[in-house]
Each structure stands twice: as structure tokens, then as C-alpha cells.
Symmetry: C2
Subunit: 68 residues, 2 copies
């Protein structure tokens, strides 16, 4: 699903691996979410949104996303 993770991660000057450490997932998981390869679990969505100081709905663009 569409999201702002890559954009925000770069604004924060972090690599995928570093962001993964912050939210306790692998760098591949971060990559997959940025590339829309799979949807995050609700906890990962929450952790990412919290890290970037926004709501889940702001970070993940449900309206503009296709549902698998």
C-alpha cells in the first residue's frame, strides 16, 4: 500500500537498516513496505507512525491504495 515511509526515512537521514532497528524489524521488512510488496502488521504501522510523529492514517495512504 502507498505510504510515506521512504520519504520520511530520507528526511530523517536514516538507512533502511537503521529504521528497521528503530522499530524492531529487518531491513527487508522496511524495504518491502517502502516498495509496497506487503502491508505492515498493525503494530509495525503503529511503531512507524509513532516514530515519525504522525498517525497511521497519515503515514499510510489507505484511500489512494489498492487492497490486495
Amino acid at each position: 500500500m502507498k505510504n510515506k515511509v521512504k520519504q520520511l526515512r530520507e528526511q530523517y537521514g536514516l538507512t533502511q537498516a537503521q529504521l528497521g532497528e528503530k522499530v524492531n524489524v529487518s531491513r527487508q521488512a522496511i524495504n518491502a513496505i517502502e516498495k509496497s510488496k506487503f502491508d505492515p502488521s498493525i503494530w509495525l504501522a503503529y511503531d512507524l507512525a509513532e516514530f515519525f510523529n504522525m498517525t497511521i492514517e497519515e503515514l499510510f495512504e489507505f484511500e489512494e491504495s489498492e487492497r490486495k
Copy 2:
């Protein structure tokens, strides 16, 4: 995880099965979420929050919940 689904569902006068139909999951899935047997997918969380006209963060109480 803790959530307000049961309370809101009853306010709306719906059965678990009826709510399941609204958000396209089985009544067992609704039951499991109400009883905190498993966490919703991000899309189900979104659909439920949208149905009850609130955000995911309002419907699901992350702060007060334990993480599996």
C-alpha cells in the same frame, strides 16, 4: 489488543455477524478481535475504524495493550 469494538458494535445495535458483513470478515474474526484473541490486519483495523467514524488509534488502544 484492547479495543472499543464490542462497545461500539452494541451502541450501533449490531450482532458480531452483522458487523462482520459490514467489513467483510467472518463473525469469528469479529469475536476474536473483541476478545483480544488476535490483532486485526491493518486493513481490517482501517475498515472498522472507518465504519465507526474514528481513527485506528482511537478504536484500538495501543498504549494500553500488550504486544504479543
